[in-house]
């Protein structure tokens, strides 16, 4: 696929611009219509049960508050490993996502569960810090045991057309990650246009992202279906061009089981079933998990449970 296979020979601003602006455009109305059409898929009974368990296993259970405490983080980790104390058949979540200073606490709390800790880094959420601070932020989180780093890109640089700066930051953070997986947050709500979302996706993948992620959760709109659709198209095209599968993580605004299942439908019919694994698709969320659990109970018992039957962490 010529549009996506052309890797810039020398990484320069000029070469990156030529490459990114040579990608096929995105028609906003058409992209929205496709996402809307897929949102009408009706996932019922056995398909819904399978989808709920898959979605639970993809949740990056997240707390990213100024008021976070070790106690709150530990409580979240217990929930991550055992989402429903009344039902041990519920799968554990994909990861727990915290601020860098809470990584050690979370790693300790999750020891033996097989659940990794993801840490936001690089002066999350604004990303407005000197490069050395961002790298130190990253190294420290990795040193404390983070298996995944969720970095933010410099949206200002991207919007100003300084693609090389964005590229180099991602590449540097990737290097600082070592073995940790790198999720690159595009903050699509600030990129505004779908053309930008597509370009930023490809830029991040070329620079070394293991995952591309929609949002910090601190900016509205966060993960919308059309944005996730475009990012899924990007990873599909990147795979076709390079053979490498990059993951996608919508984050922010996904609160209900219906939202989660719509995302899975999008994955299934855009990137394809190969992406229907926590290794390649995650959902960044906090309140979603309880709704998934409630719907799971509803499906297996036929009665609607109340929110007090699920832990509030």
């Amino acid at each position: 696929m010529p549009h996506t296979a052309t890797v810039p020979e020398a990484i320069t601003d000029h070469a990156l611009r030529a490459y990114l602006h040579g990608l096929p455009g995105v028609d906003e109305v058409g992209a929205r219509a496709r996402a809307q059409d897929l949102a009408t898929r009706s996932i019922k009974t056995t398909a819904k049960a399978a989808a709920i368990d898959l979605a639970i296993s993809m949740v990056d259970l997240t707390t990213l508050e100024g008021a976070d405490t070790p106690g709150k983080v530990r409580s979240l980790c217990v929930k991550a490993a055992l989402p429903d104390p009344a039902d041990r058949t519920v799968p554990k979540v994909g990861a727990v996502c915290v601020y860098p200073d809470m990584v050690a606490v979370a790693v300790e709390a999750l020891r033996g569960t097989g659940i990794g800790v993801a840490s936001v880094a690089t002066a999350f959420p604004a990303g407005r810090a000197p490069m050395e601070v961002k790298l130190a932020d990253t190294r420290r989180a990795v040193a404390d045991g983070a298996a995944e780093i969720d970095m933010v890109i410099d949206r200002g640089a991207f919007l100003a057309g300084r693609y090389l700066k964005v590229y180099e930051e991602i590449a540097a953070v990737k290097e600082a990650c070592g073995d940790a997986h790198l999720k690159v947050i595009l903050e699509t709500g600030e990129l505004v246009t779908y053309d930008n979302v597509r370009r930023a996706s490809h830029l991040a993948m070329r620079a070394g992202a293991d995952f591309i992620k929609t949002s910090t959760g601190k900016v509205s709109p966060a993960a919308t279906l059309p944005v996730t659709l475009i990012m899924l198209e990007a990873v599909r095209d990147h795979h076709a061009a390079t053979g490498r599968r990059i993951g996608v993580k919508p984050a922010g605004g996904i609160r209900t089981t219906k939202d989660a299942i719509r995302n899975l439908v999008l994955v299934n019919e855009t990137a394809g079933p190969e992406w229907l694994t926590p290794d390649l698709f995650r959902i960044g969320a906090s309140s979603l998990l309880n709704d998934l659990l409630m719907q799971r109970t509803r499906l297996s018992t036929g009665t609607y449970p109340g929110p007090d039957h699920y832990t509030q962490d």
């Binding site: 028609d27 906003e28 109305v29 058409g30 929205r32 505004v192 246009t193 779908y194």
Partner: protein
């Protein structure tokens, strides 16, 4: 109607060959005229040229009181075919001109026609047997009709087209476009004003025309063709066939490359032509009440859009509106 045949293929030698046989060997000196009039040979108007019928036929045209006026070409099936080819060839260029440019050209027709007022008035007096005053009125009205339609060229799209407020994020716009090649059966008893009234709206909107002239009074149509030919109307935009509608009409009505018919002057053949047109869904404008009313029926100074819209297609374009 009588018919003559000179047996030749079409010659494109222009108007230089006279048919004069005025000199009589028996004339006395006193009978010798001071000057012999140069008569006009009436030919067809095809693709911007004035050829004779390829069939070599002509037919005599007489005045209202039966006097011989001239011989007009008697167009054949093949002439009709050639006319459609010429009109089709001219369509892209003519419809692609700016509306302003078409308006300028139609106005130019009015200017040139005005300059030949006397010639046309004479022609009408002879052809219709009307008074000079009546003939003047018709010629003036014909000039004014061209002016009227010259003004329509860059307005009908605004009057007829427009934007459509669809329920969704789409720009949606409808524009009238010319139908294509229109065969105009000119009104029988209205050789100038009637012809102008049916022809001008057809070409004002960017169509090209094949005119089948009034059978009994065809001379004005060829005179008008001369006006068109000297008014910057591109060749092929208007093609004029004189002859018998009943002979060439069926071929034009059923011709697959004809897009529309104006049956105003088709008389009793109108129904047959409409039926023939059905085979290729050719648009049809049926004869209206003016059809048989002579030039007087066309004196209304505000014909409105009723003769513009039948030869327009509405094209609607959608486009999403997004960032």
């Amino acid at each position: 109607m009588a018919e003559r045949r000179d047996g030749g293929k079409r010659k494109n030698e222009g108007a230089a060959d006279g048919g004069a046989t005025e000199n009589r060997t028996t004339a006395t000196k006193a009978d010798v005229p001071a000057r012999i009039a140069v008569r006009k040979t009436y030919k067809l108007y095809l693709g911007g040229a004035f050829p004779r019928s390829e069939s070599g036929r002509s037919h005599p045209v007489t005045s209202a009181d039966g006097a011989h006026l001239a011989n007009a070409s008697l167009a054949s099936r093949k002439d009709a075919r050639d006319a459609v080819v010429a009109a089709r060839k001219a369509f892209g260029g003519w419809s692609g001109r700016t509306a302003y440019n078409r308006g300028q050209i139609l106005y130019r027709i009015a200017e040139v026609l005005e300059g030949r007022h006397a010639q046309f008035a004479d022609q009408l007096v002879a052809a219709l047997g009307v008074s000079r005053a009546e003939a003047d009125r018709y010629v003036s009205a014909a000039v004014d009709r061209w002016v009227h339609y010259a003004g329509w060229t860059d307005k009908f799209a605004q009057v007829i087209g427009g934007s459509n407020p669809v329920s969704g994020p789409y720009y949606n716009h409808s524009t009238p476009e010319p139908t294509g090649v229109v065969v105009v059966f000119a009104p029988q008893g209205a050789p100038l004003l009637g012809l102008t009234s049916v022809l001008a709206p057809v070409i004002a909107t960017g169509n090209t025309a094949v005119v089948v002239s009034s059978e009994s009074a065809p001379l004005a149509s060829i005179d008008l063709a001369e006006v068109l030919a000297t008014s910057d109307v591109p060749g092929g935009v208007v093609n004029v066939l004189t002859g018998k509608a009943g002979e060439i009409g069926p071929h034009l009505a059923s011709h697959a490359d004809v897009d529309a018919l104006d049956l105003t002057g088709a008389g009793e053949s109108a129904v047959d032509f409409e039926r023939a047109a059905a085979a290729t869904l050719t648009r049809v404008l049926r004869p209206g009440p003016e059809a048989d009313g002579g030039e007087d029926a066309w004196l209304d100074t505000d014909p409105g859009t009723s003769r513009l819209t039948p030869f327009l297609e509405t094209k609607t374009v959608w486009h999403p509106v997004g960032m």
